[in-house]
Each structure stands twice: as C-alpha cells, then as structure tokens.
C-alpha cells in the first residue's frame, strides 16, 4: 500500500505539472513571509505590496492569469522548509516569493532552487548567495544585507564623525551589521555593544552612551527592540547625539515610535517620498488600500511582482519555458518604484542607496524621507565571487 502511494505521488505531481505546462493559462506564485510573532508586520507589508501589484495588473502577471498562495513561515526555518515543500509539490507553484528573514532564506534556498520554481526574495539578501553560492534560479529585489549598514558607515565617514558608538543584538546579523559599518568608517569606535536578542530595556546601554560621549550612535535594532531603543534614547535626553540606524526606524516601527523617532537617520534604497510617477501612484494606492504607510518591505515585494511580470512577458507568457523566463529575470527590465534598478550578474540588484530621515507628515503619520544619496549604482562586495552557471 505504502509503495503504491510512493509510486503514485510523483505520477500525480507529473500530471499536475504537465497540466499547467500544456494549458499555459495559469501562473501560481507562493508568497512565503513571516505573518505571526512580533515581526509579523514586516510580512504583512510584503504580502500587501505583492497583492497590490497583482491587483493593479488585473490579476495577471506577464499577461497570464495568476493565483497567489500566501503562507506563514512563522520565522522558523524548519517550519518554512516543510511549508515551502508543500507549495512546490502540492500547489505546484512556479515562483516562490519570500522570505523576510535571512535565516529562513538559508533554509528554503536549496529546496526551491533545486525544484522547478524560481525563488525571488523581497527582503533577505545574505552574503553567501550573493557570492560563491549564487544560483541562476535565485533573484533578489531588495539588496545585499550589508549594503544598508554600509550606507551609515559611509555617511559617518563623509560627515567627519570622529567617534562612533555601535550597538547591535548578539547574533550573526548583528555582527555582520557592525562589520558593514566599519567597512567604510575609519574613525574611532568608542564601544561595540552587543545586547541579547530580544532585549527591551536599554537603560544600561544608554548610560554607557552618555558616559562615552560619541559624535554619533549607530544602532541595528530591528522590530520591537528598535521601538524601545528609540523611545528610551529620546527619553534619556540623548537626541542631541545623531542617531544613525539600519532597520530600526522604518515604516513598520514608526507607528509605535511616533515623535520619538523624528530626525533620526536610517539607510535605504527607497523612501515613500521618492519622486517618480510610478512610486507616487503606488504610495497613494497602498495607503488607500491598507491604511498604513508602505515601507521598503512593501516596495520590494511590489517590485518582485513586477519582476515576475516582466520575465513572464519576455517569455511570451510561456511560463513552462524556464530558460526564457530565467533570461527575463536576469534582464530585470522593470520600472522599479525606486527608479534606478538593474539586475546584477549574481541576481542581486544594482541600485542607489540613500540616507533617510524620519519626518512627521502633515496628515499626522510618520515616514522616512530621502536625504543624501550615499552610493550610486552600488554593486555588493560579494558579487565578484559569483561565477554564473549559465
């Protein structure tokens, strides 16, 4: 009985796959993002951004009727692997869009790229897949993770800050973050503080900052940690020391940080007030549909939908012609919301990076706003190690 089921399953999968291949009128996209736990708001932004694009394109990507299946990776790599296999084998998706977090990406990268589907990451962009382990079935519409941190390091260096106080949670991404900052900042590092992941009260660290008297503080404190740090930083009267950050003040945390974050700096490849017609239309439509200000998570997921759209279109709607679709993905010929966008050889974008600053908008909401352009057409430092297979 069991052996029968085992032989039947691949057959079933084969018929399902060939069904779509012959019909060619249906495109299935699996969106896998984090929708539960404290970081759920990031996943919601990505999901909403992607859905908005599909809706605006009339429910079609590349002119092909599109069905979107959304799943929650629960920010657990083991759960994510199980669910992504479900997407590939049960739902037969041709594209997986996700995830938000790098540790989930590490887990689902191989199952997806080994299968018949393409993996498009709307946020996570780890160094290994940008360099030696780059893969022709993997594309990123965000950035290489280090680049955002590098923006602040470069800014601190250009601005002539002599002494920087660095803070990050004590895990791999935190260490990568501070390494990214130090790649461009050559001045004195007053102190490198690593806090336990999930720490919510920063009173001890704030006292250290006050004692060290740095020219500026750099912090990488994503999610709830950032909300707490920013509010406590303001309450401790340290706001006269410039606050540079990555993933700490953005549209996902600003609704809770409010006035406390105004004037604080971040690094990004985009901000809601970026001036181009497609972006202005996007921000307006997003705010009308979801009653919140879109962040980079929403923008990058929207661009992921545009990327799939352009690739399927360039393959003439033949989703099953994987080489043609791949060629389209490599071209990355999209009208990105961030304006300047090219697809690099390693599947990571080549784009501009900006210093952004938190502002209070006249309508009472808070958003990041573009300030200086820090990098032009910036290629990540790992791309040179990527030898594209085809």
């Amino acid at each position: 009985m069991i052996s029968k089921a085992k032989t039947l399953l691949p057959l079933l999968a084969l018929t399902l796959l060939s069904g779509t291949a012959f019909g060619q009128e249906k495109l299935k996209v699996g969106v896998m993002v984090t929708l539960s736990g404290p970081s759920a708001v990031l996943g919601q932004q990505a999901r909403d951004g992607f859905n908005l694009a599909v809706k605006q394109l009339g429910g079609k990507l590349g002119g092909v009727e599109t069905e979107v299946v959304v799943v929650d990776d629960e920010l657990k790599p083991d759960v994510a692997v199980g669910k992504v296999k479900g997407l590939l084998e049960r739902d037969g998706v041709q594209f997986v869009v996700g995830p938000i977090f790098s540790n989930v990406l590490q887990a689902i990268h191989k199952p997806v790229t080994d299968s018949n589907a393409f993996l498009i990451s709307p946020n996570a962009g780890t160094s290994n897949f940008a360099g030696a382990q780059c893969h022709p079935n993997f594309y990123v519409t965000s950035y290489q993770n280090d680049q955002v941190h590098e923006v602040l390091g470069k800014y601190a260096q250009d601005k002539g800050f002599k002494k920087l106080f660095l803070m990050a949670p004590n895990y791999q991404a935190g260490k990568d973050s501070l390494a990214g900052v130090k790649r461009h900042f050559k001045g004195e590092v007053a102190s490198e503080v690593y806090t336990p992941l999930g720490q919510l009260d920063f009173s001890a660290e704030l006292a250290q900052i006050a004692a060290a008297k740095p020219d500026a503080v750099f912090a990488f404190m994503p999610g709830g940690m950032g909300v707490n740090l920013v509010r406590q930083y303001r309450q401790a009267g340290l706001a006269s020391i410039p606050f540079l950050s990555a993933f700490t003040v953005d549209e996902s945390t600003l609704p809770a940080q409010k006035e406390a974050a105004v004037g604080f700096f971040g690094g990004a490849n985009w901000a809601p007030d970026m001036k181009n017609p497609q972006n202005e239309a996007f921000v307006k439509a997003y705010e009308a549909a979801y009653n919140s200000v879109p962040g980079t998570y929403a923008m990058q997921a929207y661009d992921a939908a545009l990327l799939i759209d352009s690739a399927v279109k360039s393959a003439g709607g033949k989703v099953s012609d994987r080489n043609a679709v791949r060629a389209g993905l490599k071209k990355g010929d999209i009208k990105s919301l961030r304006g300047n966008f090219k697809m690099g050889l390693n599947g990571y974008p080549i784009q501009d990076f900006y210093l952004v600053q938190v502002v209070a908008r006249p309508d009472g909401k808070f958003a990041t706003s573009l300030r200086d352009k820090i990098f032009d057409n910036y290629v990540d430092v790992y791309a040179k190690d990527c030898k594209p297979a085809n």
Partner: protein, 306 residues
Amino acid sequence: MSLTLLYVQTLNGLQLGVLLFLIAAGLTLVFGVMDFINLAHGVQYMIGAYLAAMFTAMTGNFFLGLALALPSALLFGLALEFLVFRHLYDRDHLDQVLATFGIILTLNQAVKVIWGAAPLSVPIPDAFSGSIVLMPGLLYPVWRLVIIGSGLAIAVLLGILVSKTRIGMLVRAGATNANMVSALGVDIGKLFMIVFGFGAMLAGFAGAMVAPILSVEPGMGDNLLILTFVVIVIGGIGSVRGAFIAAVMVGLVDTLGRSFGPTLLRAIMDPAAASQTGRALAPMLTYILMAAVLFFRPAGLFPAKK
C-alpha cells in the same frame, strides 16, 4: 565620572529588579501555595500592558487607564483560573506545563488578532514626563523613578499583607501544608482563587507601568518569564521576601554585569578578547548566580518551611 555611571547603572538594575519582583511575587505564591507551574504568568504581564494601552487611548489619561486596567487584569486572571487552571491543580506538573504553554500561544495570537501585530505605544503621563539630570549628558526619566517607587511601595504592602493579616497567614500556611489548612476548615479553593487573581493583577500592574517606556507587543512577557523563574528559584519557592531579595539581586547582577563586565575583564586580558568574553559572559551571569545560590542553599534563599 565612573562613579556616577555606577550610581546610574545601580538605579537601572534596581528598576529591573522591582519589575521582576512584581511579576515574581504572584508566580512564587501560585507555585508555592498551589504547587502549580504557571508558564502563562508572563502573558498576564502582557495583558496588563495591552489593557493599559487600550484604556489609556480610550480615556486619554494614563491613570484612568491604569485604574480601569487593574480590575480588568484581575477579572481576566480570575476568568483564566475558573476556565482552565482550576481543572489542572490535581494533575502532574507536565500537564500543567503543557496546558499553560498552550495558553501562551493562544493569548499571544489573540492579542495580535485584537490589537494587531505592530507594537503599540503609551505616552508617559504629563505630570511625570520630565527627566532629571543624574550624570552629565544623561537625563533619567522621572517615570522610571516612579516605577521604582511604586514597586518598592507594593513590596512593603505585600510584606505587611503576608506577615500581618489573616489572609496572609492562610497563604503562608497554605504554602507550608495545603492539605492541613483545608482539613482545618478553610475553603482552600477560594484561597487559591484569591491568590491567583491577585498574582495576575500584580503582573498586570507591572505590564501597565512599563507600557510608557517599553513597546507593547505580542510575546513581550515571554523573555521576562524565564528571568522570573530564576528569581523565584533563587528566592525560594513560595516566599515573597525571597522573591524581593532575589529580584533585586538578579536585576543588579544583570545590569551591572552587562555594563561593567567587559571593562573589568579588560584589566586582566587584552581588549578584543575582553569584549568577546564579556559579551558571552554577560547573559550567563544571572544563571551563574542561580547555580551558585543553589549550590549553597538547594531550596533557595528563603524556602517556605515544609
């Protein structure tokens, strides 16, 4: 300069300790009196914070919000006791752990459904929104001092309640031998319910008090719960006095260790190695403290006499 930093960090440690005490007091009584492991105690802290956030937003005044949140937290605790915990008192610890863990998952998800996944914030009440200068360049928010003050006041009140009143006497007796208290004609079920509801309210109070300085978000009580268990194990299960002393100890060790550990290590090894070791060592300090206390006093500092 370094001495002022020490004072400030001591104050920070005291504030963490007071917070831990408010949560641990209820937990140690529930554990000590009812022999009931309640992992969901951290959730009650979160519920308190959410209720305070909601009522503050509704009334526009933190203290009105707090006044509404406390009885709501109490009612919520009693409802949980009535619906779930009551049926678990006679089961073994594993069943209790499983059931209360289930409650954590359910309630964390429930607050997200009701209030959304994005963190909420509560403004500091105007009367206490100022700061005072404790060291050059650092303002200490008055609200943190309010937390320390109210926590210490509650510790004193609780001490009097447990050692001087009839209900306190019954609670102490229950912690020593619940069956005997029951045999003497005390309605032990009712006593359990009062202790439980009161513990839930204290945790809720802690949550409401930190809402203006921390973000209110799903799962905010989970990290604190582990430290709270460390506190009640160090203090001796069932002892409010032990919980207070252990909470202040843990708060101070954690805060001072985090900020001065690397500096002290630098005296005996080179800077890079010191910061590396200090970083690894700091989160361990409270557990090393627990291990050391248990080595010398296996039942904790102030165990209830059995």
